[in-house]
């Protein structure tokens, strides 16, 4: 009984403290998953980057002459999913992207719907966690336009992406609303190739390449991540990678 009481008061105290820390902040000051000692560095990095990027600067954009020849394609390069293969054969005419969760107008968008939004084209550097980097031109719709279109709830904090090949990940609104965060359908002036994530690849330019998911199949707006999949915020966390990859 005594122990229960003290545990309860401890939890109450801890909740009050974290509430205090978050008061008045729209964006989180700590990453959602930083459980272990190893995550302490990530938490410090995340907090300092949020301060450093508070004016939302753009990642450097390059000229067309800088575009890399032979941009590597790694991990999934041709999804095995039957439905995906069928949609690919139909040039994704029947493909739909469900956008739901904490939004006023949940909807399923076709590739044509996404192309009807004003497009943004950017030539940026992709930085693979392995250590290599390559430059490509990406064309797509800003994620924030899609979030505005479906009227994402003002108190929503994260956007969760699920992919055809089973990958899933999430970013917070700070990155989701950034002007360079795109749902891309074009690469180097062509349709996005299959090995690079057709029909839609996410671009999160201020984080490592693994946050720029290929083969995006659904978007969910949420206010917390602990009830999504295993609660870690990203599939790659179970392989030892950080949820926040601004490094």
């Amino acid at each position: 009984m005594k122990r229960q009481l003290s545990r309860r008061s401890f939890i109450a105290g801890a909740t009050a403290t974290s509430g205090l820390l978050l008061t008045g902040c729209t964006d989180p000051i700590l990453p959602p998953t930083y459980g272990s000692l190893l995550g302490l560095g990530e938490a410090l990095t995340f907090a300092s980057h949020r301060l450093l990027l508070r004016n939302q600067p753009l990642a450097r954009e390059f000229d067309r002459g800088s575009i890399s020849k032979g941009f590597p394609a790694i991990n999934t390069t041709f999804p095995e999913d039957e439905l995906y293969r069928r949609l690919l054969r139909g040039q994704f005419a029947d493909w739909r992207l469900p956008v739901g969760g904490k939004v006023a107008r949940p909807m399923s968008l076709s590739l044509q719907d996404l192309k009807r939004f004003p497009a943004r084209t950017q030539i940026t550097q992709h930085n693979c966690e392995q250590g290599w980097s390559a430059i490509a031109e990406w064309t797509g719709v800003q994620l924030r336009r899609v979030l505005q279109h479906v009227q994402a709830a003002p108190d929503a904090r994260y956007v969760v992406f699920r992919c055809v090949d089973g990958w899933w990940d999430s970013i917070d609104m700070f990155d989701a609303l950034h002007p360079q965060t795109l749902l891309t359908y074009g690469m180097n002036g062509q349709e996005l190739p299959v090995q690079h994530g057709a029909p839609i690849r996410l671009r999160v330019e201020r984080q490592l390449g693994y946050k720029s998911l290929k083969y995006v199949s659904s978007i969910e707006v949420v206010d917390r991540l602990d009830h999504i999949e295993d609660g870690s915020g990203a599939m790659v966390v179970s392989y030892g990678y950080s949820w926040y990859a601004g490094i």
Partner: protein
């Protein structure tokens, strides 16, 4: 001989301030962790390039003879940044302390006399003959001071800045880092060679410690005091 000269320092005399000792060992732990985790990260792509980009299928500057390991860079990177934060915070404490207490001026900056060509030449010759200066324990010799200053004011800032140039978030806020180092892959290459130079310093540093007396030197860096030498 050399060891007799060492005994010129009475045992029990204060050699290293408490702040120096604490920051020295925290730095040692952080640096070794950074070297280990840096090796793990590098093993995921042991090729070095020059310029903005570099990838398989593009020409490399060097292909390092490391076994490819794609499975450990996740926790390796987390460990690298945990150690980097420890090194940076510890380094800032040390730098502020050394400037404001005068440690930098009194102990690290060479004196005018030490910078005389004659003194420099003598010190180089002494090093080549593996001999110690008569006042070896009382103050750092001039080559030692130059080495420490280069490590503290050139190599550590360089390894930190080139490390930050690999961050897509930091370079969004500070794109001049790309221009300073000639691109992200150039920064990665400079980061590697700066780390190698720091490792080289560590090897020479440990060699000197062993040469002078491993036990007495390590004890001095723990207790802060000179100890009687085990061999007279």
């Amino acid at each position: 001989m050399a060891s007799n000269k060492m005994n010129a320092t009475p045992s029990g005399e204060q050699r290293h301030a408490l702040t120096v000792r604490i920051t020295h060992w925290l730095n040692a732990i952080s640096f070794c962790t950074l070297v280990f985790s840096g090796y793990i990260i590098l093993s995921a792509h042991p090729r070095l390039y020059w310029g903005d980009t570099g990838h398989f299928g593009a020409p490399s500057l060097f292909d390092l003879p490391l076994a490819l390991n794609l499975d450990d860079s996740g926790w390796g990177r987390s460990l690298h940044f945990l150690a980097a934060w420890a090194l940076v915070i510890n380094g800032i404490v040390y730098l502020l302390w050394s400037v404001f207490t005068g440690h930098l001026r009194r102990r690290l900056l060479p004196t005018a006399e030490q910078l005389q060509p004659r003194h420099l030449a003598d010190d180089i010759l002494r090093h080549l003959r593996f001999e110690h200066a008569p006042d070896a324990a009382a103050r750092y010799n001039v080559l030692q001071k130059i080495a420490y200053l280069l490590v503290i004011y050139l190599l550590f800032p360089l390894v930190l800045l080139t490390g930050l140039t690999m961050s897509p978030a930091v370079t969004a806020a500070h794109p001049w880092l790309f221009d300073l180092f000639g691109g992200r892959q150039s920064a990665r290459t400079i980061h590697f060679f700066t780390a190698c130079t720091l490792i080289l310093f560590l090897v020479v540093h440990l060699g000197q410690v062993i040469l002078i007396g491993f036990r007495s030197e390590v004890l001095a860096m723990i207790t802060g005091k000179s100890t009687p030498r085990s061999t007279p």
